[in-house]
Symmetry: C2
Subunit: 375 residues, 2 copies
Amino acid sequence: MNFKVNKQIFYNALSIASRAISSNSPVPILVGIRIEAEKNLLRITSSDANLSIVQTLSNEQDEKLGLSVIEEGTIVIDSRYLIDIVKKIDSDEISIEIIDGTLTHFSGEKAEFRINGYRPSDYPTIDFSEPSTRFTMSYETLNNVISGTAFAASVKETRPVLTGVNMRNDGTNLTCTATDSFRLARKQLALSSEPFSVTVPAKCLNEARAIFTGCEEIQVSLSEKKIQFRSGTIVLQSTMLEGNYPETDRLIPTAFNSTLVISRRQLISAIDRSSFIKTDNMTIIRMEINAADDILVSTKSQEIGEYNESLTAVSFEGNPIDISFSGNYLLDALKALSTDNVAIRFTENMKPFVINNEGGDDTILQLVLPVRTYN
Amino acid sequence: MNFKVNKQIFYNALSIASRAISSNSPVPILVGIRIEAEKNLLRITSSDANLSIVQTLSNEQDEKLGLSVIEEGTIVIDSRYLIDIVKKIDSDEISIEIIDGTLTHFSGEKAEFRINGYRPSDYPTIDFSEPSTRFTMSYETLNNVISGTAFAASVKETRPVLTGVNMRNDGTNLTCTATDSFRLARKQLALSSEPFSVTVPAKCLNEARAIFTGCEEIQVSLSEKKIQFRSGTIVLQSTMLEGNYPETDRLIPTAFNSTLVISRRQLISAIDRSSFIKTDNMTIIRMEINAADDILVSTKSQEIGEYNESLTAVSFEGNPIDISFSGNYLLDALKALSTDNVAIRFTENMKPFVINNEGGDDTILQLVLPVRTYN
């Protein structure tokens, strides 16, 4: 293998590649980025065994790439070294050549490196073939779906399927749901496609959101086994999470006894203000609502002390409410919404409550379960 | 205790106070900030037992302070809670009142907190009396002294005196020296004062540099026991490090056999480029110098690989040199200098070498010890 390429474009591709690399991969070679030089293109592959990225760079696609392949070949280089070398090399063009086995020579103007690589034959074969269920989505829509749901997925591995976002299509509508069983986030949108129901790791979605920033259209394709996102030179794919996703529909109340409409920013400020008052590392907020101008938000910790704030809402209708919940969960939910005011709908004090945009995008729903307190 | 004060000015003072607070203090109450309200002033004290800060705020000194003391008194509040409350309170003015024992009430417009404080009688008495050896220094000079030396102090506690910067005055000249016994940094300046030789913790100096940013003149006073910095509303003091500071003068060679004058930036880039090639967590750089246009910089690691770069210097005079040293130490030294070119003076391959500004501030000296390699 022997090629020259523009430093900056190559560096940008390596930065994207590094997003799939986990420092604690069970497969040692996966700390490396696989570089394959073909006649007119570079193929850059990275993976943590579940999440994988392949990028195909060519002069046709970007004339500034300045790719010149003198000899075809493949090498795997530790991503940390590779990125550091390419970032800091002393010229605009970098030359990379295998000189002996896996020993690879990197050179700029006067600086040169000889780095021990990994044998490409040891790199796992990753199948990047495109699954058959396909649709396209604007980056803006994809970003809305992910930012509105992925944060609510579980970070604990006890029920792996809850670490993902369930994406279900009935043929005309896509419903994306994430829950850690204490709160739930759901986003719906019109989407014609074959019906499917899959659970995509939240990590994959968050990476997709970061990697495709600046792209217009993303092509999404999926099967029972994997999901793939494609745009420009980049293919990002992930294995699906296995296991049945819980039936979340029945968790979401449909009839309510009380509705509060309140400034989203005012409520965020109040909860944020009290977030240092923790019991067992959690801020439990109590909301006592009697009328639009009779709302008390409070929290208390034996050790630290207590906080009280009276809020005035835009409106309140229905039965009085006295409910306690995790401040962080409501904070996450409010931040995932977008309108000036939000509507919070309650059934009973010990039942889940639902938060929606008020007078804006109504395809997104946030749900929080109350907690029992013994104050 | 009961007073009202401008939120922003109080918050700024608390931010400064928090710089003296250590999260792992052996004295539990030192996680707190001591607030003392007197008739016309607020006194804010913080300490980690060695480093202490007192700030005295009054309407005379800053009319925007808006201090109104309804009742005098003293309380100690955990700095984390105090800073969070003051930062996020919902008004421009904050009221603070002791309501029961150490239970303290904080209120803004609608938000209020009741926080458990510490008994002020449990707070250690800190003597802020001013030592008798005194001089003033511009912030710029103080900053130059500290940024040129403190980084070279030891971070290991095995020889505590090496974690400080030795400040020695012979009556007319101040010499500041820091060394971790592998490298040394020295800055000298004219300063009339009684003679002294003290060792100030590097931590104290780094905090002084941060805290007094924006001040013009700093008053420094010191004794065998402590050093104090005063400017505006702030007094920062630290206990001195005990123990005899090593005789560093004899470590610094005065006669040289070879002198290299080279671009500071070029050398920084070359060393930085190779810094990922580590053996035992250290990058050992080898410099082979035969002539101004025959300089080879290299580093090698059995595991990772190797790096080579040929450099061209402005000039080289004297015997050829083949020397190895810690890349990080030379990098730190070069960053502490300020001119475009630096002069590096060598005696022998296994002897310390000295780096100075070339054609600029010549009161600063950096010294690095070579390491023996077995390549």
